[in-house]
Amino acid sequence: MEENGIVELTRDEIVEMIERGAKHRLNMSARQLVEAYRSGRLENPGAVADLLAFASLLLESDPLFVAA
């Protein structure tokens, strides 16, 4: 949905975006990506800087983070 020139993404749209990108670039799931990043184990975060930026739009209570 677009409002005032800003596209509001749903949770599912964001997670799908991250899943697809993480699988293609690092052969890992969105959850594995977030977990590796938050624990400082992601070797090359710049390679997925865009995915991590979109992950930041999710609520802190999102299952993607809670499980991580």
């Binding site: 800087a49 930026a53 930041s56």
Partner: protein
């Protein structure tokens, strides 16, 4: 290029700069518009554009990226791409709300997917890993054999100062030879104006972790 044309553009970018510096609700869109204008004057292909995205967290947090999201890098006039991602948030500063950059990433790449990337500048205000907050990575090979066995050049994070979008545009135009839409006599003063304003307020990180 006429002087009135340049002056009109300079007035426009000053107005957009003031708007994003002023904070409040319009700041993020002013930042988006300014980014688009700088790219449109220079290396952005006509069909390209930048857009703001928000999510469940709500309006204080945005991502500036390609028109359709992370999988849509900006097409350039040389047929290649710039993957631009800027994470923005609005933070209270002395009873006002200011627009801040949480992270930025500029990657020049030959294909849409980014498998054939060339260089990437990253900035992360609060990095969780031991790499420098602001750094550049290059995808290539060193002439000399001097890296540890399990390290390739593309894994080396060379620390940098904060690198602006304007600096990346100049690098693409001047050193990678990407054609610009307008003459340097027009875009150079505009980039200088907006970069100066950015550097005045930009967070300047250390070159590595404190501990």
């Amino acid at each position: 290029m006429s002087l009135p044309e340049r002056d009109t553009l300079l007035a426009e970018v000053r107005s957009l700069t003031e708007a994003y510096k002023a904070g409040g609700p319009p700041a993020a869109d002013a930042f988006r518009e300014l980014t688009h204008l700088l790219l449109r004057l220079t290396v952005l292909a006509p069909e390209g554009g930048v857009r703001l995205f928000s999510g469940p967290r709500g309006r204080p947090e945005f991502v500036l990226g390609g028109w359709r999201g992370h999988h849509d890098p900006l097409p350039l006039t040389d047929g290649r791409y710039l993957r631009l991602t800027v994470r923005l948030y609005v933070a209270p500063v002395e009873e006002l709300s200011r627009l801040k950059v949480a992270s930025s990433s500029y990657q020049y790449q030959l294909d849409r997917e980014g498998d054939r990337w060339v260089f990437r500048y990253d900035y992360l205000r609060n990095p969780p890993d031991p790499h420098p907050s602001a750094h550049v990575q290059l995808r290539g090979n060193l002439v000399e054999d001097c890296l540890p066995d399990d390290t390739s050049l593309e894994r080396v994070h060379f620390p940098t100062a904060r690198v602006s979008l304007e600096a990346v545009i100049r690098l693409l135009a001047d050193q990678f030879g990407i054609p610009c839409h307008t003459e340097p006599e027009l875009w150079r003063p505009v980039l200088a104006e907006t970069e100066r304003a950015f550097l005045e307020i930009a967070h300047r990180p250390l070159g590595g972790p404190e501990r």
